[in-house]
Symmetry: C2
Amino acid sequence: MDEIDPAALLAVALDEARRGAAEGGVPVGAALFGRDGELLGRGRNRRVQDGDPSTHAETSAFRAAGRRPHYRDTIMVTTLSPCWYCSGLVRQFGIPHVVIGEARTFSGGHDWLAGHGVRITLLDDPTCAELMAGFVRRRPDLWFEDIGEDPPARG
Amino acid sequence: MDEIDPAALLAVALDEARRGAAEGGVPVGAALFGRDGELLGRGRNRRVQDGDPSTHAETSAFRAAGRRPHYRDTIMVTTLSPCWYCSGLVRQFGIPHVVIGEARTFSGGHDWLAGHGVRITLLDDPTCAELMAGFVRRRPDLWFEDIGEDPPARG
């Protein structure tokens, strides 16, 4: 794994996020890779596209990878810090490494995962952060629906 | 909510679990209800049926309920203690109450949820426990795949 460039893996997740943005969806993308860098599955948040609140980017990539006997040799890559739902997925299935584009616009459960032995690579990528911040500004309704929170009161 | 019988809600989840068993799937069922007991969505684990590792019973019921602005007035009912993935779903979306059929065969994140203010009703229902224990005995391969763990070594 040491020789794999996390930024190259993130590019696949970012491409998914951009596709989501072009579809009018929540622009979060993810991909599941093997430890040698082979792509196992990729996906994006599909709340808007499919009317499906259960399909966050990480669950979408996980689903696309199909059934596997275990995940000990995988890497989850996501453009945004994983929410509790997606962090729970990582913990339950024993995914040992999560590469995160950014955690500025939203910080989910990645510190909790680190405390449970998951390797976290936080890239603080400005392109991911700008894509997300722009979406939150334009569509706070969708964003807060997607994380199950109330939008902040307007000042 | 006080007047709603949790066992009546569990019956819907148990019906889903039995359908899953009849299909050869992992026999865990769930349902999402409104606080007044109206059914919002129901579903079952679909790993085997759909080849989809992302569809646990709780995520299936959550998906079936469709998009909602929030979940503060909902109750998640599941035949089995929710794994970390499904516990993360409950926490992220602010589902305030989880009714659990049993936690004998598997105990996931329900204590963690209780520590974060989620009301937990653990029914310790023998029918749920027998359905699950029988499945774990017959198909340990499927069961341990479903929770991302290695089967115990045979003694």
